[in-house]
């Protein structure tokens, strides 16, 4: 069972090392590796082989989850280039971005208080647009400009937007159920 644990997730799935991703190619490659190294296939093998197949299957899953999510993929790509996204430590975001975040939070809180699901759905739609725009920007920063530091800022922004996405979802649930 030859397997190179030092290869990157991109190499593992035979993908180019870019943020742009052909999801169909990823899914196909994932299913193939998953079938190849599934622990069930090693039920009759010795313990060392069983352990190794489990380790490989775990790595394949982790790699798939990482590349599937745009946020995790961007973070991983930056990590490969030696850049830490500092999501836990860097609190200095552009002021206009933070003002916007405050406005989002206020609007969500108001719509929730008024139990206005239409407004919340509309906010969800607007947020989806912002996430798409930011993802396009991230692709440009990573794949074309190789502007790692700006890309790390974009990752931190995306993290805020995903949090907003959760909050809108929670607010809608709280109103409906």
């Amino acid at each position: 069972m030859p397997f190179d644990f030092s290869q990157s997730h991109f190499v593992l799935f035979g993908l180019p090392t870019t943020f742009a991703l052909d999801r169909a190619v990823l899914d196909t490659a994932y299913r193939k590796l998953q079938a190849e190294f599934h622990p069930d296939r090693f039920a009759a093998a010795d313990d060392a082989q069983k352990r190794l197949s489990l380790q490989i299957a775990t790595r394949v899953n982790e790699a798939y989850q990482t590349l599937k999510s745009p946020l995790a993929r961007a973070r991983y790509l930056l990590q490969l280039n030696g850049v830490d996204t500092q999501e836990d430590t860097n609190t200095a975001m552009p002021v206009d971005f933070l003002m916007q975040q405050m406005e989002w939070r206020e609007t969500i809180a108001d719509a929730k208080t008024q139990r206005n699901v239409d407004e919340l759905e509309e906010l969800n739609r607007q947020l989806a647009e912002e996430i798409t725009e930011l993802t396009v920007e991230l692709a440009e920063l990573l794949d074309e400009q190789h502007a790692w530091s700006d890309a790390a800022t974009a990752v931190r922004k995306l993290r805020f937007l995903e949090k907003l996405n959760d909050e809108i979802g929670n607010a809608i649930e709280a109103v409906l159920f």
Binding site: M93, F97, L98, M102, K157
Partner: protein, 126 residues
């Protein structure tokens, strides 16, 4: 996870919530955010001619610990010079509020907010 009594006190009766009038040049404003949890904190200090912080206000979107941390530091910075305010460490905030390890980032946010507010004030005043 249970909040400490001090966190609950600040959370339920936050001190100094609000904002100063826009355009007041004796005011320094610090805005910071924590990507990991989405918390956003705005902290303002009003500085007297003697360089002592007379008043402070905050607005925070986040969990109870983030609100309590910002409420606490608005009390702490009052009566301090800018340099004294800069010595406030997140560890002291976390200790005062008995924050659990997963909430330490809230106290870091509050420390960074003070620094950003002081920096903004200094920038305005050369």
């Amino acid at each position: 996870m249970a909040y400490s009594e001090k966190v609950l006190d600040h959370y339920e009766n936050p001190r100094n919530v609000g904002a100063f009038e826009k355009g007041d040049d004796t005011v320094g404003t610090g805005m910071v955010g924590a990507p990991a949890c989405g918390d956003v904190m705005k902290l303002q200090i009003k500085v007297g001619a003697d360089g002592v912080i007379q008043d402070a206000k905050f607005k925070t979107y986040g969990c109870g610990s983030a609100i309590a941390s910002s409420s606490l530091v608005t009390e702490w910075v009052k009566g301090k010079t800018l340099d004294e305010a800069l010595t406030i460490k997140n560890t002291a905030i976390a200790e005062e509020l008995a924050l659990p390890p997963v909430k330490i980032h809230c106290s870091i946010l509050a420390e960074d907010a003070i620094k950003a507010a002081v920096e903004d004030y200094k920038k305005k005043h050369g």
